[in-house]
Structures are given as structure tokens and as C-alpha cells.
């Protein structure tokens, strides 16, 4: 037997999905081990090996492809927990990162403060050097000054250094030299230069992107290298792959230096999974939400497609890397709640993670998390968490809930837990509104896909609040991202500046440049073990009318670029401009700005197998009942518990009910109708007001 394996190491759990050579899917899950995440990963893989009755090393040897998605980069940014990072810039220009081009996200809101500075001013240094707009050296680099700064950084315990000097996108000589010099004085530093990460004009956007890369890469790199060592030692014959923000995957060694490209590693796999789901199930309009331990990610899929963005904001920092458009907030099962100075109940953004984890994990957690609230409310079964492998501490959890939240507010543990549940839901509902209503999409035309271990507990309420009439809980809800990873293609984006008047473009030189970029991509894919036959190349040209400041990305037709094709490219540009902006100016001159190449190594997709229709009534899937809190009853009510493993296509019943699966728990609220579709997914028809 051969296997393809997707592993998603979240803040709280490590999820594994294995597809065997006959297309059968199996799910494995184990707690994450943040101090050394490889332990959780190996544990999960060992579980799989046991399932397949293979020796561990033998099992690893049978893995054709191991894809890994990680939220390490995302969480580092969302919680502003990157390493101590410094910035080296051109003297007199060290503040671009904090000046943010005088931009305020919400013009009318005076009281939204700046995000925490990932590189405070005290750690931003200017050095003497200057290039002009053509890349000519006006002031040579003061090398001694760089060395001094490097020594000072070392003395202050800095771990990473971002470098962004003016006009480095036209000439990277100073940035490269600064990197060398810093490494000579301070070899253990992680140094990232802007011309390597985002070689394009606009120093603020470049500085922000490279600052984020420096801030998060050391943590990610340490983490990936460690995994690589361990997996190799245990018998994995090749490098593993890491999912990227662009929805594709990259090799782990590449990822270690390019943390910023893995910023949305975990969530992008969820979006890919959502797209795959949309195709297979034939529901073109989906809002995919993934609630894990630490974050809540939302992607909107309209007519079967997610949207890409060339520039995005993560934790309010500008990042100029192509990415799937995903909205993320810091809310999850591990989000910690507390009472703030004003006496108001707050949930998040700090998370308990896997260690200490929520109070009920009994690993030293002292602050109630969302999961604790769910346990107190009866939505989670203390004896069936991870199928019973991981008993939860009910008593400790109630006590802490009462002490930490209840008493200060003068309410009991149940009311405190319900308060947490409501606060966390309202934050998540806002996130759903941001991608739907606020972008002009009517939520009533969408279905909500509830993924992540915690998603199905909250999904029905969220749908109710936002006005989405149907929720799908995929059969592999808790490992949706890991499943999505196995549907991700290998994908690399390349960009090079090619700034010239369009009528002066030499087709041969353009073709040569494209070919060189493609060769680079092909080589990377070959290293990643992709056969040439399955490779696809997409060519793009960023173009604009001379004098404009923003480009239009035009997809080029396949085939060699020859003089006769230039006209066709110009026509494509005018047409795209007209489609996007309602007009074009065919008589006006055009210029090219960037060449873009996307290289894709296609991965074979596995069709989902339909299941046999139910032969027995749904009652037989009931395994018991429990007192569960629902707002509709203003208290607890005896609620039937269904065993997810026994539900079959065609089963249908109404809420209140709890469906217990090994890896998640689905809350069916009073008034909801639950039914099981042909693929074993649970569909909730939610009562929507208005």
C-alpha cells in the first residue's frame, strides 16, 4: 500500500489525513506539542501506522507525499509573538514601517490604535547609503556603521534583522552587502532583505513585508528544520511539503527562509478544501469557516472560486505576497477569557494553545477558554473527547469558570460559560459579515461550511446570527485543512520587474526572460519530485497606460512569444482594463511593469466515495442523553446524543441534539433540522430570523 498524507499542526491539535492508494480516507488526531511540535506529528503518524498494521519506518517509507500546513507563522503574527527583530534602513528613513504612509484603516474611527509595533523605533537603525531612482549609488554604504549596528543588535539580544533600503528593487547591491556584513558580525542572526522577498517599488510595503518575514521566519524555520530532521531519522525517504498562502505547496527547506509565504499556510489549505468541496458537492457558493484552537478563518467561495489578492494585511501589517483572500480573527477553542478593567467580559485574542490548554485539559491551564465554556454548557462530552482518549476535567473546569468569570460578574458558572459562548460567537459572526454582507454578498445565498474541531459547536448559532440558512459539517470537519492540503497543487509564483514601453518590448528577450523564470520553477518542482508531464505554466504580464500608478495583470496566451503576438497582448490588456474599469484607451501608449510566472505541479485528486443509504432509523444512532444548555429554554434540557459513526445517508432529525464524532461535536440547536447527505456530511437547516 502507498499513502499520501496531509498533516495540519494547529495550536491545539495535530490533524492527519491519509489517503491510501485505493482512495480511502482515514483521519488521525493527537494533541499538539508546542515545545517540540514534531512529537505531536510523530504521534499522529504512529497512530496511522498502527491503523494500517505497519512498522513505523515501513509506513513512512510507503508515503509518496507528505504535506504539512502550519499555523505557526499565522499565530506568531496574530499574537505578535515573533522574535526580537531589528530593522536596518537608509539613514533618515527608519520610520516608514510605523508611518504606514499616514494610513488609518478606519478613517472615521479616531480611537482604533495602531497595531503593536513588531519592530519598535528603538530597534530601527539608519545606516549611511543611498541609491537614486535608477539604482545609481549616490552615497556608498558605510560598512563600519553596519558592523557597529550589527554588534549593537547582537548585544541587545536581537534574533532577526530585516533590511529595507531605498530603491533596493532597482539595485540590490547595498542590501546584499548589509546582509553579508551583519552575518559576519552576528552569524547566528536571521537576516532577510527586501530585494529577495518582494522586489518591487514602494518602500513602505516592502519594509512591512520583509519585517514580517524576519519577525516570524526564525520560529518557523526552527520548527520546520526540526521536523525535517526527525522525519528523516524515522525513515521518511524525501523532503516534506508546506502549504503556502497562495493555495499551493512548497518544499520545507524553501519555506524555512520564507516564513511570510506560509503566513496563511493552514487557512489556505482550508480554502482549497472548500473549493474542492464546492466542485464535488455542486454547491458553488460557500462560506468556509474553520475554527480551531487559536484562530477563526473565513473564506468566501463564489461560483466555485476563491479570490486571490496580491497584497493583504495580516494582523494589520501589509504583506505583498500573493495569497488567497482569507479573513482571520484570533478566536478559537483555546481563546482565553478574562474580565477587563472596565468589568467587561473579554474573550481572546490570547490563546491557551495546547499547553497549558484549556482548564479542562488539566495541564495547568488556570484561565477559562472557549472549550471550557463549551464543556460547562454540555456541548462537549467529557468522556468522549478524542473518542474518549483524553478525559476532560469537568469539576476543575466548573470551579475555575465560577471563580474567574462568574464571581466577578456576580453570576453562576453556567451563565458565565454562556457569556463566553455569546461573546466569542458575536466576534465570529462579525468576521462572517465582513466577507459576505460587507462585500455585498447576501448570506442567504450561501451555505456555511463548518470546519475545524470547534467549528461545528458554534456553526448553527453563527448561521442564525448572520442569516445563512444552511450549514454543512463535512465528514472530515476537524481535519478539513489537512484534507484540503492533499488537494493542493505544488505552486510557485515568480515575479521580475520588466519596466519598459510596450512598443519597445523585444519579443525574443521577453520570451527568454519567461523561459528563465520557468526553468527556475521547473527545477524547484523537480526537486520536489514532480514529473514534468503534470506541470502547468501560467504567464502573466503586469501592464498599464503610461502615467498610471497601478497595473493590470493580464494572463498571456500559451505558446512562444513572437512579434505577431504582441498585438494580441495589447488587445488583452485593453479588454481587461475595460472589464475592470469600464473603459479603455486604445490610442494611448502602454508600459509593462512586471513579468509573473506561476508554475503548477498538478496533484491527482481523489473523488469522495458515496455511502450506502440508511437501512435503519436514526434512533439507532442515539447513544444516550445529557443535560445541555440552550438559550431557547433559558436553561438545561435533556438532549439526545447521536453517534456520528452510526449516522447514515438519509437520516434526519430535529434539534436540540448533539452529534458526537471522535474529533468534534456538532450542536444541533432547537429548531434546526439535521440530515445526513450521500457523502456522510451532516447538513443543518437553520432557522433564520427575518
Amino acid at each position: 500500500m502507498r499513502y499520501r498524507v496531509g498533516i495540519d499542526i494547529g495550536g491545539t491539535f495535530t490533524d492527519g489525513v491519509v489517503i491510501d492508494s485505493e482512495g480511502r480516507i482515514q483521519i488521525f488526531k493527537d494533541p499538539s506539542t508546542p515545545s517540540d511540535p514534531s512529537i505531536g506529528l510523530i504521534n499522529t503518524l504512529k497512530k496511522a501506522a498502527r491503523f494500517y498494521h505497519e512498522e513505523f519506518s515501513q509506513f513512512l517509507g510507503h508515503i509518496d507525499m507528505l504535506v504539512h500546513g502550519t499555523t505557526v507563522a499565522t499565530n506568531t503574527m496574530l499574537q505578535y509573538k515573533g522574535v526580537k527583530t531589528a530593522l536596518i534602513a537608509t539613514k533618515g528613513f527608519r520610520d516608514a514601517l510605523e508611518m504606514r504612509r499616514a494610513h488609518k484603516e478606519d478613517i472615521w474611527n479616531l480611537s482604533l490604535p495602531l497595531p503593536p509595533m513588531i519592530i519598535p523605533r528603538a530597534l530601527r537603525f539608519g545606516v549611511s547609503e543611498r541609491l537614486n531612482y535608477k539604482g545609481e549609488i549616490l552615497t556608498p554604504l558605510d560598512e563600519e556603521e553596519v558592523r557597529q549596528v550589527a554588534r549593537c543588535l547582537k548585544a541587545q539580544g536581537v534574533l532577526a534583522v530585516a533590511v529595507c533600503t531605498l530603491f533596493s528593487f532597482t539595485n540590490d547591491v547595498h542590501e546584499k552587502r548589509i546582509k553579508q556584513l551583519v552575518l559576519e558580525e552576528f552569524p547566528e542572526a536571521f537576516v532577510s532583505i527586501s530585494s529577495e522577498i518582494l522586489r518591487q517599488i514602494r518602500e513602505y510595503e516592502r519594509a512591512s513585508t520583509v519585517a514580517v518575514n524576519a519577525y516570524i521566519s526564525p520560529s518557523l524555520s526552527r520548527y520546520l528544520k526540526n521536523l525535517q530532521t526527525v522525519l528523516k531519522r524515522e525513515g521518511l525517504p524525501h523532503d516534506f511539503l508546506v502549504t503556502q498562502s497562495n493555495g499551493g505547496v512548497m518544499s520545507a527547506s524553501f519555506g524555512a527562509e520564507h516564513g511570510v509565504m506560509a503566513l496563511l499556510s493552514g487557512p489556505s489549505a482550508g480554502a482549497v478544501g472548500g473549493k474542492y468541496f464546492a466542485e464535488i458537492l455542486g454547491y458553488p457558493n460557500l462560506i468556509v469557516c474553520d475554527m480551531g484552537g487559536t484562530s477563526f478563518d473565513v473564506t468566501l467561495i463564489k461560483d466555485g472560486e476563491y479570490t486571490m489578492t496580491m497584497e493583504s494585511e495580516v494582523a494589520r501589517y501589509r504583506v505583498g505576497i500573493p495569497a488567497i483572500d482569507i479573513h482571520t480573527i484570533g478566536a478559537g477553542g483555546g481563546s482565553l477569557s478574562h474580565i477587563d478593567e472596565g468589568g467587561m467580559l473579554r474573550v481572546g485574542p490570547l490563546s491557551a494553545g495546547a499547553v497549558p490548554g484549556p482548564v479542562c485539559y488539566k495541564r495547568g491551564g488556570t484561565q477559562p477558554a472557549t472549550t471550557d465554556a463549551n464543556l460547562v454548557l454540555g456541548y462537549l462530552n467529557p468522556d468522549y473527547f478524542l473518542g474518549g482518549e483524553f478525559p476532560l476535567d469537568v469539576e476543575g473546569c466548573w470551579q475555575t469558570m465560577e471563580d474567574r468569570i462568574g464571581k466577578p460578574l456576580g453570576i453562576d458558572a453556567t451563565q458565565a460559560a454562556f457569556g463566553i459562548y455569546q461573546v466569542v460567537n458575536s466576534g465570529m459572526a462579525d468576521a462572517l459579515r465582513v466577507v459576505s454582507v460587507q462585500r455585498g454578498h447576501d448570506p442567504r445565498e450561501f451555505m456555511l461550511v463548518a470546519a475545524g474541531g470547534a467549528g461545528p459547536i458554534h456553526a448553527s448559532r453563527l448561521a442564525q446570527e448572520v442569516g445563512i440558512p444552511k450549514v454543512i459539517v463535512p465528514r472530515a470537519a476537524s481535519v478539513f485543512c489537512a484534507l484540503g492540503m492533499l488537494e493542493s497543487d505544488l505552486k510557485h509564483d515568480y515575479v521580475r520587474t520588466y519596466w519598459t514601453h510596450f512598443d519597445q518590448v523585444d519579443p525574443d528577450s521577453l520570451e527568454t526572460t519567461f523561459c528563465a523564470m520557468e526553468e527556475e520553477g521547473m527545477a524547484t518542482l523537480a526537486e520536489e519530485g514532480v514529473a514534468e508531464a503534470t506541470v502547468e505554466v501560467e504567464r502573466y504580464l503586469d501592464m498599464r497606460y503610461i502615467g498610471q500608478h497601478h497595473e493590470v495583470t493580464v494572463r498571456l496566451p500559451k505558446g512562444r512569444i513572437v512579434a505577431g503576438k504582441m498585438e494580441e497582448m495589447a488587445t488583452a490588456f485593453h479588454a481587461t482594463h475595460e472589464r475592470l474599469y469600464t473603459y479603455c484607451e486604445v490610442d494611448k501608449p502602454i508600459e509593462t511593469i512586471n513579468i509573473r510566472v506561476t508554475i503548477i505541479g498538478r496533484v491527482p485528486k481523489t473523488p469522495l466515495a458515496k455511502e450506502a443509504p440508511a437501512q435503519s432509523p436514526p434512533l439507532e444512532a442515539i447513544k444516550g442523553s445529557r443535560q445541555v444548555f440552550f438559550a431557547e429554554y433559558r436553561g438545561r434540557v435533556a438532549t439526545p446524543l447521536y453517534d456520528a459513526a452510526k449516522l447514515q445517508p438519509g437520516h434526519s432529525f430535529s434539534g436540540p441534539a448533539i452529534i458526537e464524532a471522535v474529533t468534534t461535536s456538532i450542536v444541533v440547536c432547537p429548531g434546526d433540522q439535521a440530515l445526513v447527505d450521500d457523502y456522510g456530511n451532516v447538513i443543518l437547516e437553520v432557522k433564520v430570523n427575518g
Binding site: A102, K104, V552, T582
Partner: protein, 604 residues
């Protein structure tokens, strides 16, 4: 204050209307369309002032026309777009047809300063006028005495540029070229002017397309009911907010440094009377109109009042005409805030708008002490124009990168480098790289200015120091406009004022000259211009500022060791060497003693 921060627009709900979900969906759809208009303008325009700086705004009016959605763009255009649409209706009435596009800029026919050119495109659905899409944009040049159309020497609006009343420039979807050429001929950059007008029209056409799709979906009758509901809801929300403000009469006064001709300060006085759910605002105490270009047309004055209210009440009040219903503004004709033609007006959208906003904030701070900011910086900088020696082409540039800081709030420090008060951070500064690619100068430095933010329990945001040197053998034409060289951003409740604007020529060299805030300056080739821009005002007594924050400010080079001691009463253990500031440790006991003594001194 936590509640204030929590109220985010995502949580908007529409209780009390017939179909709250649909109304909410349509309203947000309109806001999204509004944003898309802005994106189209940014992406297609040729002038950096639009593509990089976003000195424009978009709005959607209904058939009346009343503004129904206005979220994109600079706050300083809030009321003026609304008045421009009405001017087009009044002039053309029944003579408005599908495929028409109108233009207007005249300050005395529904505009503000002439550089702000408004494009209005009526949107028809099967021959029924349902919407007007509006794009209002600040063009770099519309003629007048000096390039850049801020002419400190102008004494009549005729000297400030071409005046355009409501005028049809497209018929049947096609531009009326003879009319357009007449307009272009009166500007210094006719090609650029026309290209950017086309971008404005495109932004309105995108709205037309989307609004038509929206109407397809709901049908005109239902949509009209929804649009009425949106107006009613906004009015209701504003009334609820006004009701929360204690009844009473609140005054505020601010001064402009001068009108460019005389050094006499010019007074803006405003009075708010809160009566239940209504607000009455008068400018009875404002000075008469002036000779120089700071006169503020009524639309501009009203905008400043609306901005002061919209930023201090709850953020979930929709921005449209309904919200302005309960706000009643009166201004004496012939005064600074409602001048008679042909008074010049070019600088009113910056200087006077800022001063009016400050006077309003000061009045409102008496009614809502926990919501109102200390003073923001005022604009002060040049328009620079000439022939770019690298390309041989004429250019006009404003020195946007000299923006100042924002005022502190009762619970947080002010924003550094955020720009003037009336624009509220709505203008995005260009990158230094784009600027140098675009214009013939080289930048020497661009960074925060220490000790510029007013001291306070919450500190004002820092201003910047910014220097550019001009390239080429010919010196550019250099026109200063702005204010705040005499009147700094005010502090509130014990907070200190921010620093003054300080524009300089060749500072530190033998030719050093301090520049006026308003005036034409002769330059020589190779001269360099520097500005040390205002920091924002502080809020609350600086002796109450958390010493840990003061230490951070010192480490970050935003507050000097001297100011830490003298203004904040914070003492450090043994003064460290400058290069090892990270060893700086607070002397808690000495700090406490110094602060106690300072407080006692203040009481005496």
C-alpha cells in the same frame, strides 16, 4: 471607553425597519459599490494625488438627490458632494438623461475650492432616474495665478482658476469635446486634467453598472422603500446619539494665523446648542470674510461641523443625509464661514476647515469630555512646480510627506504622521520612492520629530522632519500654503499643545530662511526645503503619564531625556550614554518625589 472601541461597523443592525436584513444587505452593498468606485479611481488615474494620496471621495445619491452612501475618501468632502448634486438638479431639472455626465467646481455654485472638481453621473433604470454617482477629486491644477491653484496673492476667486457651474460634459455616453477642450485649455496640465476626468467618469460608470445590477435584483419600487428606510434609520440613530449628549450650550474658539496678507489672527467661533434630539450650530462669533484665500464656502463649513459630530458620536451611525437631518447649521452671510463672491477660497478646505473642526471639538469636549481628541496638526507645505529636467515635462507636486501628528484622546496617544485634522488620516502619503521617481528632487530625511507631540497623560502624535533638495538647473516655482506657525494644536484637560509647524529653506546653511506659512517664495537652483511639522496636542496632565510609557518614548527617541524630566516629571537612574539607552532604568522614588513637588507647585 472599551465600549466605544467595540462598536464596529460590522455590527451594524437596522432595528425598527420593515425588513432589517434586506436593508442591511442593501446598505452594505452600497458601501461596497462606493468603495469600488474609489478603487477604480485609484487604479486608473494618472495623477499621484489620486493614485497614491487618495485626495478624492466618492458618494452615491438617490433620485432626490440625497446622499445615501459615502464611506470612501476624504472627510473634507462630506457635505460638499451633497450640495453639488443638488446644484446639478436645480440647474438641469427635467433635462437630465441617460448617458449624461455633469461637472461642477465653482465655490459659489455648489463647490468649495476650485481644485475640487466634482463629476456627477445620473443612473437610470428603464428611463427612471434612481441614483447619482458622484466623484469629487482635488486636481493638481485648475489654472489661476500660480501652478497648483493655491494662490496666496489672490483676492478674488477669478484669480484662483477656472470657475465651472453645473455643466454637461457627456451626452449619450459620449464626451462633448468642444466643452471639455475649453475646460482643459484653462489648466496648466490639460492632458492630465482630461485623463483624470476620465478616471472620475470611470469610477461613476462602475457604480452605474453595480447599481443597475442591484436594481435588477430588488426592482425599483422595493429598492426605493429600502433607500427611504436607510435615510430614516440614519436620522433615528443620529437623534439617539444627540439625545445622549447633555442639553446645553457649548462654545469653542480657534484662530487662524492670518489670511496671507495680514498677520492679524482670524477667529472662528462656534456654538453648539443641544436640545433633546436636535443640535443647533451657529457661527455668530466668527470673523468677517477676509481679503486672502482662507474664506470657507458654506458647504466647507458645514462639512467641518459634520466631521466633528460623526467622529465623536457612535461609529455605527451611517454616513448619509439622514444623519445630518437633526443637525441645524447657521452661518452669517459675508462671514469667514459663509463668504460672499468673489472672495477667494482656495485654502479653506485645509486651514479654515481645520480651525472650524478644532473650534467644534473644543465645544464638544465640554459636552463629551471622554470622547473628543486634543488638537490635530494643521497643514503647512508648498506646492512645487516646474519643468522636470529628466523628462522635459511640466509637473505640479504638493509636499505631502510633511504631514504632522494627531491629537491624543482621553484613552490613547495621538497618531504620529497622520496629517491634518480635517482629513483624519484619509490622505495616504506617497512613498519616498514613488515621489522621487515622479518628481525632480532627492529626499535627505523623513522621520519622526522628537518632542513634537504635546505632553500629556496621553501624548500627542509626533510630527516629522522632512527635507527635499531640488534637482536641475532651474529652480521650481514654490508656493507655501497652510497654517499652524502661530497657533499650535491645542491640548485638552491639562495636556500641552503640540509643536508649531516650522517650514525652512536651506536650514543649517548660510542661506537659511524661515518660510511663511502662506506666500510665494523665490528659490535658487540647488535650494532645499525642510519642514518640521506639528505634533498633535496632549490629553490630560503629563505628570499622570505612566512612567513606563515615558521610558519607552525616550528609548524610541520620541521624547528627550530633558522633556521626560521637565514635562513628565520622570527621573532615570544615572543618565546613560546615548548609544546604550536600552540600559535606561526608571528611578521610581525620585520620579514620585518630583511629580509630587510639581503638582504642589502647580496648585500654588
Amino acid at each position: 471607553m472599551a465600549d466605544l472601541r467595540q462598536e464596529e461597523s460590522a455590527g451594524r443592525s437596522f432595528e425598527g425597519v420593515s425588513d432589517p436584513v434586506t436593508v442591511s444587505v442593501v446598505f452594505h452593498r452600497l458601501l461596497t459599490i462606493n468603495k469600488e468606485m474609489g478603487i477604480t479611481m485609484t487604479r486608473t488615474s494618472r495623477s499621484p494625488i489620486f493614485a497614491e494620496v487618495h485626495d478624492f471621495s466618492c458618494a452615491i445619491c438617490d433620485w432626490v438627490p440625497r446622499i445615501v452612501a459615502q464611506i470612501d475618501g476624504v472627510p473634507s468632502h462630506t457635505a460638499s458632494s451633497m450640495i453639488a448634486a443638488k446644484a446639478v438638479r436645480d440647474r438641469f431639472g427635467g433635462d437630465i438623461h441617460p448617458g449624461d455626465v455633469f461637472i461642477i467646481n465653482d465655490a459659489y455654485s455648489g463647490g468649495t475650492h476650485l481644485a475640487d472638481v466634482t463629476i456627477i453621473k445620473p443612473v437610470f433604470y428603464h428611463d427612471e432616474l434612481l441614483f447619482m454617482a458622484i466623484n469629487r477629486a482635488h486636481h493638481l491644477d485648475v489654472g489661476g495665478l500660480t501652478p497648483g491653484s493655491y494662490s496666496p496673492l489672490a483676492t478674488e476667486i477669478f484669480q484662483e482658476g477656472i470657475r465651472i457651474p453645473p455643466l454637461r460634459i457627456y451626452h449619450d455616453g459620449k464626451p462633448i469635446m468642444d466643452v471639455i477642450e475649453t475646460l482643459c485649455l484653462n489648466t496648466r496640465m490639460p492632458d492630465l486634467f482630461w485623463s483624470d476626468i476620465k478616471a472620475q467618469v470611470a469610477s461613476c460608470s462602475v457604480a452605474e453598472k453595480r447599481l443597475t445590477e442591484l436594481t435588477d435584483k430588488y426592482g425599483p419600487p422595493r429598492l426605493k422603500v429600502i433607500l427611504e428606510d436607510i435615510q430614516r434609520y440614519a436620522a433615528k440613530r443620529m437623534r439617539q446619539e444627540i439625545k445622549k449628549i447633555p442639553d446645553g450650550v457649548y462654545d469653542g474658539t480657534a484662530y487662524l494665523d492670518g489670511d496671507g496678507f495680514s498677520a492679524t489672527q482670524v477667529k472662528v467661533q462656534v456654538q453648539f446648542e443641544i436640545k433633546g434630539e436636535e443640535m443647533f450650530v451657529n457661527f455668530d462669533g466668527a470673523d468677517p470674510q477676509t481679503k486672502g484665500f482662507i474664506n470657507s464656502p458654506f458647504a466647507n463649513s458645514a462639512t467641518s461641523v459634520y466631521v466633528s459630530v460623526l467622529t465623536t458620536v457612535s461609529q455605527d451611525v451611517p454616513h448619509n443625509e439622514g444623519a445630518y437631518q437633526p443637525i441645524h447649521i447657521t452661518a452669517r452671510l459675508g462671514s469667514l464661514v459663509n463668504p460672499l463672491p468673489p472672495a477667494p477660497v482656495a485654502s479653506s478646505t485645509l486651514d479654515t476647515a481645520c480651525a472650524i473642526l478644532e473650534a467644534c471639538f473644543m465645544a464638544l469636549s465640554k459636552a463629551m469630555p471622554n470622547r473628543v481628541p486634543a488638537g490635530w496638526s494643521r497643514w503647512c507645505g508648498p506646492s512645487i512646480s516646474g519643468i522636470d529636467p529628466r523628462s522635459g515635462e511640466f509637473y505640479v507636486q504638493y509636499a505631502f510627506c510633511g504631514m504632522g501628528g494627531g491629537g491624543a484622546l482621553p484613552f490613547m496617544d495621538g497618531f504620529a504622521y497622520i496629517g491634518d485634522g480635517i482629513d483624519l488620516g484619509g490622505l495616504t502619503a506617497p512613498n519616498i520612492e514613488s515621489n522621487e521617481l515622479e518628481y525632480p528632487h532627492i529626499t535627505a530625511f523623513h522621520e519622526f520629530l522628537p518632542d513634537s507631540g504635546g505632553a500629556g497623560k496621553y501624548r500627542g502624535g509626533a510630527g516629522v522632519r522632512y527635507r527635499i533638495q531640488f534637482l536641475g538647473k532651474e529652480a521650481p516655482t514654490f508656493v507655501m500654503f497652510g497654517d499652524g506657525k502661530v497657533n499650535p494644536p491645542y491640548g485638552l484637560f491639562g495636556g500641552r499643545p503640540g509643536s508649531l509647524n516650522r517650514p525652512m529653506l536651506n536650514d543649517g546653511s548660510p542661506d537659511e530662511r524661515e518660510l511663511p506659512a502662506k506666500g510665494i517664495v523665490e528659490l535658487k537652483p540647488g535650494d532645499f526645503y525642510s519642514v518640521y511639522s506639528s505634533g498633535g496636542g496632549g490629553w490630560g496632565n503629563p505628570l499622570e503619564r505612566d512612567p513606563v510609557k515615558v521610558r519607552e518614548d525616550v528609548l524610541n527617541g520620541l521624547v528627550s531625556l530633558e522633556s521626560a524630566q521637565n514635562d513628565y516629571g520622570v527621573v532615570f537612574q544615572a543618565c546613560p550614554q546615548a548609544e546604550r539607552l536600552d540600559n535606561l532604568e526608571l528611578d521610581i522614588a525620585a520620579t514620585s518625589d518630583l511629580r509630587t513637588a510639581a503638582l504642589k507647585g502647580a496648585e500654588r
